[in-house]
C-alpha cells in the first residue's frame, strides 16, 4: 500500500451515532463511556443556550453582532472537551460556545461583541487564544505555540479551529505545512458548515473533501460527522492523543451545517432556501445525543434538571453581565499599544485627556 493511503480520509465521515441516536458500527472509533457522554450532553445544552441567549441579546440591541454556532455545538463541545488543562485552544469568531465550554468567563468572552474592547479574556488563564477574525491567520499562531511547547519539552497539544471558507486562505496552507515539517502537535479542526457567509462549499473547493488536503502536507486527514457528538469527541480525543504522543499534526474535517444566517446582520434568504436547511435541523446534535442517552436510560430526570439549570445559570449570567458592562476608559486607548507608551503616544494621551477635561469628562 502506498504511503499516502494512511494519510487519506475515509470515504464517508466517521460516525458513532446515526440521526436517530442509534449506535453505528465500523468506524473503528472507541465509543466514549456514558459518563463522558453525559458530560458532553451537558456541555451541548449549555452551548445551545449560549447561542440562543447571545442571539436574544443581539435582538435586544445589547450585543452588536453574534456569529452563532447553532447546529455546530457538537464540534464546539468536542473541541473543548478533547483537551487537557495544559493544552491550547485557538478559536474563531464563531467559536464562542467552545471558548465557554473550555471554561472562559462568558462575559469576558462577549467583551468583543459588546464593543468594550477587543479580546476580553486573559488567554493564559484557560489557554484559549483570542477569537480570531482574520481568517486562517490564527492557525499559524497555533503552530507557533505548539512548536514552542515542543522546544520547551512540554507535552502541550494545540487545537486550532477554522471554517471551510478559511481553508482557502494561504495561511491555512502555510500552517499545515509548517506543522507537518516541524511535527508540531496541532490538531487542525475544520468545521465545514457548508458556507462561508453566502458562498457554498462548491465555490470554495473542488476537492473530494477538505480532509483530502492533509496528504499534500504529509498530515493524516480524517472526516467526521460533525453533528454526531460522540464521534466528534472520539475522533478529536484520538487526534489529541496521537499528537501528544509525537505523531505530529492531524487534520480533521467535521461535516456540519450553519443552521442560522452568518450573523444577525446577514440575510441568508438571498443565497439559500429553507428546503436546504430543514434536513439539517433534523440532524441536530443535541437531539441525537439525547435520544441515544435516553435509549440507554442514562439521562435521569434529575440529571436533566441539573443540566438545564446549569445552562440557564450561564444564560442568566450573560444577561446580567451584558447590561452591567462598565464603559471602557478612553485612556485605555493608549495603554496597551506598547509596553510603555512612546513619547508620541504619551503626547496624544495628554491631548485627549486635556480635551476631555475641557468637556468636563
Amino acid at each position: 500500500m502506498a504511503e499516502h493511503q494512511a494519510l487519506l480520509p475515509s470515504e464517508e465521515p466517521l460516525r458513532l451515532l446515526d440521526e436517530s441516536g442509534s449506535r453505528v458500527d465500523g468506524s473503528g472509533l472507541p465509543m466514549p463511556d456514558t459518563r463522558r457522554l453525559l458530560e458532553v450532553y451537558g456541555s451541548l445544552v449549555t452551548a445551545r443556550r449560549v447561542n440562543d441567549q447571545a442571539g436574544a441579546l443581539v435582538r435586544q440591541g445589547r450585543l452588536a453582532v453574534y456569529p452563532s454556532s447553532h447546529g455546530q455545538e457538537a464540534c464546539q463541545v468536542g473541541a473543548a472537551l478533547a483537551l487537557s488543562d495544559g493544552d491550547w485552544l485557538f478559536p474563531t469568531y464563531r467559536d464562542t460556545a467552545a471558548v465557554i465550554a473550555r471554561g472562559v468567563d462568558p462575559i469576558e468572552v462577549l467583551t468583543l461583541l459588546q464593543g468594550d474592547w477587543h479580546a476580553g479574556y486573559d488567554p493564559y488563564e484557560r489557554k484559549v487564544a483570542p477569537q480570531a477574525t482574520p481568517l486562517a491567520t490564527q492557525l499559524l499562531h497555533a503552530v507557533g505555540v505548539a512548536h514552542a511547547a515542543r522546544l520547551k519539552g512540554e507535552d502541550t497539544v494545540v487545537m486550532a479551529l477554522c471554517g471551510d471558507g478559511a481553508t482557502s486562505e494561504g495561511d491555512f496552507h502555510e500552517a499545515l505545512n509548517f506543522a507537518a515539517v516541524f511535527r508540531a502537535p496541532v490538531v487542525f479542526f475544520v468545521q465545514n458548515n457548508e458556507y462561508a457567509i453566502s458562498v457554498p462549499l462548491a465555490r470554495q473547493s473542488a476537492a473530494p473533501s477538505l480532509a483530502h488536503k492533509g496528504v499534500g502536507y504529509g498530515v493524516p486527514g480524517e472526516r467526521v460527522d460533525g453533528n454526531d457528538p460522540a464521534a466528534v469527541l472520539a475522533v478529536l480525543e484520538r487526534a489529541v492523543a496521537d499528537a501528544r504522543a509525537g505523531g505530529g499534526p492531524r487534520l480533521i474535517e467535521a461535516h456540519t451545517y450553519r443552521i442560522q444566517a452568518h450573523t444577525n446582520a446577514d440575510d441568508d434568504t438571498r443565497y439559500r432556501s429553507g428546503d436546504e436547511v430543514d434536513p439539517w435541523v433534523a440532524r441536530d446534535p443535541l437531539t441525537r445525543l439525547e435520544k441515544h442517552l435516553k435509549r440507554k436510560r442514562a439521562l435521569t430526570k434529575a440529571r436533566r434538571t441539573e443540566i438545564t439549570e446549569a445552562a440557564e445559570a450561564v444564560a442568566a449570567y450573560m444577561r446580567e453581565g451584558v447590561v452591567e458592562g462598565a464603559e471602557p476608559e478612553p485612556a485605555e486607548l493608549f495603554a496597551h499599544v506598547f509596553s510603555e507608551p512612546t513619547p508620541q503616544l504619551a503626547e496624544q494621551a495628554a491631548f485627549l485627556a486635556e480635551e476631555l477635561s475641557r468637556e468636563g469628562l
Partner: protein, 328 residues
C-alpha cells in the same frame, strides 16, 4: 436633468451596473459579491442581471482574488474586485505592491493591468477589530497605484466609472460610514478626470483639507465656524494619487492657514504628506504651521471608544483655533 437622489452604496452599484452594461470586458468578483450582493450590497443584483461570468463569488482568499485579477487584466479584461473590509485586503498586499503596482513599469508599459480594487475603509460604524482600518497610506505610498476616495454619492459614481475606464490600476477607498448617506447625482454630467480635488466650500480665513470620511466633518466644522464668524474653506481631495497640488496650494495660499483632517493614524501617513507638501510649496504664504487632525497612532479602537479617536468637529475647530499660535 437626469438628477437622482441615491446613497453612496447605490451610486457605486449604479456605476458597476453601467460599466458592466457598456463594456463587456468588465468583470466583478470577490467574496460574497455574487447572489448576496456583497456584505454592503454594492454588487446587489449584478449576478442576476449580467450572469455568473460577469459578477461572481471567488474562494475566500484575497491574494488569490487580486492575483487572478492581475492575470485577467493581462489578458484583456477589466476586473473590479472587492476586498470585504480594509484589513482583509492585507493578505493581498504582496500582489498589490509587487505586481499590481509594478507590472506596467516592469514591462516598459507593455503590460497594462486596468483593474480596480475596491476597499471599504475607515470607521465610524461601530465595527469590531479589523473592520475599520484606514489603510490608504499603504497604497498611496506604493508607486504605481492610483488611490481615490469619494465623499459624495456623485463622486462615488464617477470615481468608480473613471477608475474602471483607467488604463492604470486604481485602489478605490470607499468610506463605509458614508455608504448610506444620500446625495443628488447626475450620471449624465461629464466626469472629471481622476486626480482632481474640488473646493467644496469657499472661505477666506483658513483651509480645511479632507478626503473620504472626513469631508462631511470638515463641512460641518466650517458650518459651525461660520456661526462664530470664521470663514473656512473646504477642499475635498477625492484623489490621493495623483495629488492635486494645484487646487490644494491655490486654496492654502488664498487663506494662509490650513488644517488637514484624516481618520488614519497620523504617523507616516497621507496626512503627513499633505502637511509636508503644502508646507514645502506654500511656506511663505503660511501664517501658521499646517495643523493635522488625524487618528491617534493606535490600533483602531473598539466601538465604544471610537468617538474619542475619530476626528470630530470640535477637534477640528480646536485645531483651527490653534492656527494663530506661535511655535513653542
Amino acid at each position: 436633468m437626469a438628477t437622482e437622489k441615491l446613497s453612496m452604496a447605490q451610486a457605486l452599484n449604479r456605476a458597476l451596473r453601467d460599466s458592466l452594461a457598456e463594456d463587456p470586458t468588465v468583470h466583478v468578483f470577490g467574496e460574497d459579491v455574487g447572489p448576496l450582493g456583497g456584505v454592503f450590497r454594492i454588487t446587489d443584483g449584478l449576478t442576476a442581471e449580467f450572469g455568473e461570468e460577469r459578477c461572481f463569488d471567488t474562494p475566500l482568499a484575497e491574494s488569490g482574488i487580486v492575483g487572478m485579477a492581475v492575470g485577467m487584466a493581462m489578458n484583456g479584461l477589466r476586473p473590479v474586485v472587492e476586498m470585504q473590509f480594509d484589513a482583509f485586503a492585507y493578505p493581498a498586499f504582496e500582489q498589490i505592491a509587487s505586481h499590481v503596482a509594478k507590472i506596467r513599469n516592469r514591462t516598459r508599459g507593455r503590460v497594462e493591468v486596468p483593474l480596480v480594487i475596491r476597499v471599504p475603509f475607515a470607521g465610524g460604524i461601530g465595527g469590531v477589530e479589523h473592520h475599520c482600518d484606514s489603510s490608504e497610506a499603504y497604497y498611496a505610498h506604493t508607486p504605481g497605484l492610483k488611490v481615490v476616495t469619494p465623499a459624495t454619492p456623485e463622486d462615488a459614481y464617477f470615481l468608480l466609472r473613471e477608475s474602471i475606464a483607467s488604463p492604470d490600476p486604481v485602489v478605490l477607498m470607499e468610506p463605509k460610514k458614508l455608504y448610506w448617506a444620500k446625495g443628488e447625482i447626475d450620471v449624465e454630467r461629464p466626469a472629471a478626470p481622476l486626480g482632481r480635488a474640488v473646493v467644496r466650500r469657499e472661505g477666506a480665513d483658513a483651509t480645511l483639507i479632507a478626503y473620504g470620511p472626513t469631508v462631511p466633518v470638515a463641512l460641518e466644522a466650517a458650518e459651525a465656524a461660520a456661526a462664530e464668524g470664521r470663514d473656512l474653506q473646504v477642499v475635498d481631495l477625492r484623489s490621493l494619487v495623483p495629488f492635486d497640488d494645484e487646487t490644494v496650494c491655490a486654496a492654502v495660499r488664498s487663506t494662509g492657514r490650513a488644517v488637514v483632517i484624516a481618520e488614519a493614524s497620523g504617523f507616516a501617513s497621507v496626512s503627513s504628506e499633505i502637511v509636508a507638501r503644502v508646507t514645502e510649496r506654500c511656506f511663505h504664504s503660511l501664517a501658521a504651521p499646517v495643523r493635522r487632525v488625524s487618528g491617534f497612532d493606535i490600533p483602531y479602537p473598539p466601538p465604544k471608544l471610537e468617538r474619542f479617536h475619530l476626528p470630530g468637529v470640535d477637534r477640528v475647530l480646536d485645531a483651527v483655533d490653534d492656527l494663530q499660535w506661535e511655535d513653542q
